[in-house]
Amino acid sequence: MSLNQVTIAPIFPLWLIILLLVLGSAAAIFQYRLIRKRLGRNKALGLSLLRLAAISLLISFALNPSRAERREHEVSQAVAILVDTSQSMGLLGHPGSGSRLDEAKSLLNGGPSPLLKSLAERFELRLYGLGETLRPIKAGDVTRLKAEGKKGDLTDALGKLTGKNSLAVLLSDGNLKWEGDNPTGIPVIAVPLGDSDGYKDLLLRTVKAPALAFRGREVTIDVTVRGYGYSGLTLPVILKDGERLLTAKNVRLSESPGEGTVSLSFIPEDVGQHNLSVAIPPQFGESLASNNSINLPLKVVRDKIRILMVSGSPSLNYRFLRTAFKNDPSIDLLSFVILRTPSNILNVPVQEQSLIPFPVETLFAKELKNFDLLIFDNFQPHPYLRANDPEKVKEFVREGGGFAMIGGPNFLGEGGYAGTSIEEILPTRWAGKGDYRRDSPLGVKLSRAGMAHPITHLSPDEGDNLSLWRNMPPLDGVNRLEPKSSGTVLLESTGEISRPILTVGSYGKGRVLVLATDYSWKWYMGMVAAGKGNWPYLRLAERMVRWLTKDPGLDPVQITLAERAGAVGQDAEFRIRVSDEGTISLAVFNPDGVKIGARLKPTGKPGEYLGSFLPEKGGTYRMKVETRTGYLEESMAIPGLMEDLDGAPNNERLKTISASTGGKILGRGDDLLKEIQAHAARAQNRFVEERRLPLWAKLYFLIPILGLLGLEWYLRRRWGLI
């Protein structure tokens, strides 16, 4: 024991200890003076010094002297081995060595003296599989590892390593996330896997596409193609809507690795959910074909409903319809009113009248396709339409346009439509000569179909709706029509003989409607007169337009997909709205057309449900929702796991990781065991243990005190003081 090993930790304040020492010294001096006359100077001095020494020793214990003991220990070193198990590790490694994960397994367990065994003899080994998450594994589990899941996060994984590790060994192809932070400070030795020189693949590196598009407006999708091992290749990039080819463009890859960018444009024609796909054809020798295509869900909506309305003459019917359409910001109305007929007198020079020519040629031969809805309002074709214009209207409807005929004296027979293509597409036929009648006003009532049809469903409450229509003012003029078998009568006249007033039907892809009166405006003013406001008429006009233009909002079943695409292995959810609260069924079919399990639960809102299914692989899933009044099919694109995978071995990333952690990237010829040993040797593997032993607790420190006190007692006795 040396003095520099002794430390003090006073149990009293230092001033108190000094005061005690002073008092002890004073007591010894006092004793010396007391006994000096009896024993003489020398003996008195001897006894007093003995007393002073004993008191000083006792007081010195208040300083709490202790002895520090330091011991140095050696610890066994721990090495963490991280095996990358993300999906890219399933791709081919070096020729003849199987997959990259097989390479890792062979490295750890292969050969006459397996690395794992050698390491276990020298170090404390901790093994981990690094997929989407880090999971500890046992040595025996290495052979059972599978390449699956998305790329792992190394920064996160290093932070989660247990215990104190001297270093981490990473077996990976470099396809993992690394943010440059090393929370533990452990050096990482990276062992690159995969053949970066011989890797061949083409992939869609980025596809920039909108999730929402407007019908009739150009959509552009920017695609970047990346190629490994295909320098100088020119290949097509194909854009499809389902199975229908939309467009294709060539892209050239001038180097390897290299990228080429191409913009694909098209004009969506149909509203609704579309499943687009972008693809490049697989090439010979490609490592991975599944990243050559990508599915893109695109919702197409219309920005505005474009209506072309032609009215046979100025009328209240025209004005109130115009008011209704102009009140709706989603409607773009172009109307023509025949202000004068050829038989009218023009008694002023042209500069004094505001009439414009009816551009029949431009409208029907060129522009008609740009409209969503065509309305003939009490419009007689002669002398305005040319012989083939009715055929153009028929073609417009066949291709998906909406067409409404509003009655009046010029309607059908008297208007000269009999026998034309227009009469052919209508859901009603002319009942005979003199079809327009203005005798006694006629009331209207809802037909059975009209009670459930979205056009005439003005109020959500069935009773209110019936009452609303029952109280509509009677019509002063109606056309006498008969429904065709293809037509559905929604409103019919009251009285002994029911005549169809509002009839709907379809032709080709389009929808048609006949309103057999030019007095529907009375439903506007009549309701205003009754103090019920103008909303029933405005709603009727709006719903007629939306139904004719196939607005999904009026369908009996609506499906709303989530904005974010689903993922394999995660519940894909979608919202269902039905107008009929009765029985509802949901069926989901996987990309192979096989029905899979699906769940349906009410959200708590009337007519709203949440549907879901579990996609097991990427592709387009089809959902079919059925109710009593109709059904709807919708599809959802689920991206595949390997869809956006760039599987090229990324040695650059491994170099960055090892350099920034103070580790090393190994070459193919390097001896991993030696490298690990060398790095481990550099790591600190000793620690010092320090212990403190209080001296006053030791017997050999009491002996001098007892000795001093005993000697003093002996001398006092001998010298006759006791």
Partner: protein, 253 residues
């Protein structure tokens, strides 16, 4: 030659017509889209030009595609059928009794929700007689508004003819006034006695002389009348963009 069956059916039809009066509107014109419904009010003189309808309706049918009735319908503001009239007409020379609150409420609702009223002071005395009473009623109906001169680009000046001044029996204002709500002008008012210029006796002679402009002023009154009627049935149709280049070109001719 008429058959016996046809003769009998005509006779039965005539008898039935006497017993059960048919539609309220006489069917002088086939399927009219337009007729005048003239307001009878209390006090003043509600019918200063009783013979005005025939000539303007005749001109309307001759010049436009509109079928009109050559007979007017007389009504009151309290008439339950008021809301089904396409065109309310009100004229007078002298001050009339105020409308009742109930009448005002009906008229306000009619005009606010799409009805149309053409009113004219046939005396043409600003601030007196009919003009004062009518302005009083307008203030009651639309407290936040007052009759204002309709701007030259208003649709009523271009709904059929391109009109830049308003004629009439007299020429007090070369313009029309009105109340505009959003894009619709439900009330149009004139002090030029348009109906006085339209009025014609049963022998086809003009009842009133147009001063100071003579027949050109009468012609202008007919143009204005037709424009007002067409406006009442088409609203601001002529404001649609497609008409702009044509109208501009003609105005520059």
């Amino acid at each position: 030659m008429i058959s016996r069956r046809h003769f009998l059916s005509l006779g039965l039809g005539f008898a039935a017509g006497l017993l059960f009066p048919g539609p309220k509107l006489p069917s002088c014109a086939p399927f009219p889209q337009f007729f005048f419904a003239q307001i009878k009010y209390r006090g003043g003189e509600w019918d200063p030009n009783p013979e005005f309808v025939e000539a303007i309706t005749e001109e309307l049918e001759l010049r436009t595609s509109i079928n009109g009735l050559k007979e007017r319908r007389l009504t009151t503001v309290g008439d339950p059928d008021l809301f089904y009239y396409p065109f309310l007409y009100m004229a007078g020379k002298y001050e009339f009794e105020p409308f009742t609150p109930q009448e005002r409420e009906i008229l306000r609702r009619y005009l606010t929700y799409g009805g149309f009223l053409f009113a004219e002071d046939t005396m043409g005395a600003k601030g007196f007689g009919f003009d004062r009473a009518f302005n009083r009623e307008i203030k009651e109906l639309f407290p936040a508004q007052e009759l204002k001169r309709l701007p030259p680009d208003h649709s009523v000046y271009r709904s059929f003819y391109l009109v830049d001044n308003i004629g009439g029996r007299q020429r007090v204002n070369p313009f029309l006034e009105g109340i505009t709500i959003d894009n619709w002008t439900p009330v149009i008012y004139s002090m030029n006695d348009l109906s006085g210029a339209w009025a014609r006796d049963r022998f086809g002679k003009w009842i009133n002389e147009c001063v100071p402009g003579g027949e050109a002023q009468r012609s202008s009154a007919f143009k204005a009348g037709i424009n007002i009627i067409v406006y009442s049935l088409t609203s601001d149709y002529k404001k649609d963009l497609i008409h702009h280049p044509f109208i501009k070109r003609r105005q520059n001719l």
